[in-house]
Symmetry: C2
Subunit: 356 residues, 2 copies
């Protein structure tokens, strides 16, 4: 049966890197992959065209798709929109929430060819391979009540950090299963010495642990986790945490590799439907210049093939092709060493397709 892939280029460098992903999808089709690819607008570009960051048509197409590939959303052009509900980010958050994409997988993987790009000393990051499992449809991102209102003669802003047992259990199981497939170590990050919501979080993780006897569960406060990521990142295998802490820690972890332009991510719902996107943002400062690194986006295609389309062999071929291209020495500006020649977005895309 033909599976449906929805491509959402988004804003900034999104369209350029999405174009390389589209070429890769075509190559997969030529290699026998039975998919149908559609495109739609999301984020600032959707706001410009339809006045909404997540138009109804885009949401419909997303619901109908087996997997979604997203470039990136956002940019200074839309940052001044007073109405938060119109900002590009709401397109992304709306997709996550409406599709129930609660399980966000953010690998922080150091490519040996790029080891010198890390700001950490080589011995601390050589072989780094962390998987951050971030809850993506709950927590303070979506908690009610929220807003800004007048109280005692001044304005007060408020948001609610909330998790139910079932939400915690659901993401916990994703993380335990991930740890089983990897190194068998799971670190749950919370702030249980201060926040009640994370006391419940810790309790549920503890309750699940006996069901996964092959996984060694530990707990860490979020401030310590931020320190340990800087101090000795290789101590981590799988990390599980809520939406807000996951946002912060996954970006810090990704940056440890020095090559955030290399890192894909997956956001999955309960039926295995997924949205795949690079960890980097829309990089408006370099948009339209054919210099952005398309590899995270192309590796997002690989992740999609593995997690949503059940095509591990094609996924491996893409990952191997990316490895080849790095071995050949091709580098976009973001991963180049001083003095190295910079490949363009399209040249990098060409090289991956050739190696595929």
């Amino acid at each position: 049966m033909t599976q449906k892939v929805l491509l959402l280029p988004g804003d900034g460098i999104g369209p350029e890197i999405a174009a390389q992903a589209a070429r890769l999808l075509e190559a997969c089709q030529n290699a026998g992959l039975d998919i149908e690819v559609e495109e739609a607008l999301v984020g600032g570009s959707a706001f410009d065209a339809f006045g909404e960051p997540l138009p109804a048509e885009t949401l419909e197409k997303a619901k109908a798709a087996d997997a979604i590939l997203l470039g990136a959303v956002g940019g200074p052009k839309w940052d001044k929109l007073d109405d938060l509900s119109k900002r590009p980010e709401k397109g992304l958050l709306g997709l996550r929430k409406n599709l129930g994409l609660f399980g966000n997988l953010r690998p922080a993987l150091l490519y040996p060819q790029l080891a010198s790009a890390s700001s950490l000393k080589p011995e601390l990051v050589a072989g780094l391979d962390i998987m951050i499992v971030r809850e993506l449809t709950g927590g303070i991102y979506f908690g009610q009540p929220r807003g800004i209102e007048e109280r005692n003669g001044e304005r007060v802003g408020f948001n609610t950090y909330v998790y139910s047992e079932s939400e915690i259990e659901r993401i916990g199981r994703v993380a335990f299963e991930m740890a089983q497939k990897r190194g068998g170590k799971l670190c749950s990050v919370d702030k249980a010495n201060v926040l009640e919501v994370t006391i419940l979080w810790r309790e549920v993780m503890e309750r699940l642990a006996p069901e996964y006897p092959d996984v060694e569960l530990s707990h860490m406060y979020v401030d310590n986790a931020a320190m340990q990521l800087v101090r000795a990142p290789k101590q981590f295998d799988v990390v599980v945490t809520g939406n807000m802490f996951g946002d912060i820690l996954s970006d810090a972890a990704a940056m440890l590799t020095g090559s955030i332009g290399m890192l894909p991510s997956a956001s999955l719902n309960e039926s295995g439907q997924g949205m795949y996107e690079p960890c980097h943002g829309s990089a408006p400062d370099i948009a339209g210049q054919n210099v952005a690194n398309p590899l995270a986006m192309m590796l997002s295609v690989a992740m999609m093939l593995r997690y949503s389309l059940d095509e591990p062999t094609l996924a491996e071929r893409i990952e191997a092709a990316v490895g080849d291209v790095l071995d050949q020495g091709l580098r976009t500006a973001d991963i180049a060493q001083p003095g190295e020649v910079h490949a363009s977005t399209v040249e990098m895309g060409d090289a991956v397709l050739e190696a595929f």
Copy 2:
């Protein structure tokens, strides 16, 4: 007039490092400083003695003091206490809240003698000197409502992230003034693309900016700030943020120096009363072994002399003495290089006193 200093050794390594601070205070008295030093219990040790992490007597003494020196609180012994209000951390949080210590100053300073201890490449951290200004009596740490309760047949945990305009303005002014005294750059960290409370935060910072024309204000999302601290920490001068983000970022920033055992912090209220403590925790694993680094605690005395007791000359003498000791090559275990001889807590204290 005799000023009052309250020494709160606390838990874990707290008493050992507090003992070195006490000797230093004595030396300051001998050098003419007119203070009266008292001691009291807080945290787990207070719980063990009185069943409360912040006994009424301790709070009274704290209120009466001109400045407070705190070692550290917490340890695994008390982590299993189901009642969060009895945990050692509540002693610390109670002091902050009851004394109105809203302005937390957390310097992340790289000592040139210890540059190699950083996990970052030397060129990225040489000369690092960041001041993180963290709001300490509001935000999600203290927001109501909070708790764990039954909803729709399951338990739900919740906390409230809340700031009023006046709270934001108050910490904003501390940060702007700090930036005026330092490099003139202030970066306000928020998550204004998602959280309403931080939209208000950003707005108030913007509103204050014209009053400090000599300060260059910028804004950064917290996830990006965590990345930028890893990627290029020297871009920061003063950073201002709320309680929770400040907890995470100040620890990450401190760890960049590789020597968290060197970093003091100050928590100030509106009348200049302050509590001073090392950035590191109670390190229960090495407690009682005479190996903990007392320098952050001794530098906390210097910070106290500068910010609360108006004795900048004595503060400088302490800082110079610490510099001398490092120049002499003395190193406790936490800041030693492999193969170096380790000084004990007391030896380090001796050396600082001698150099003072």
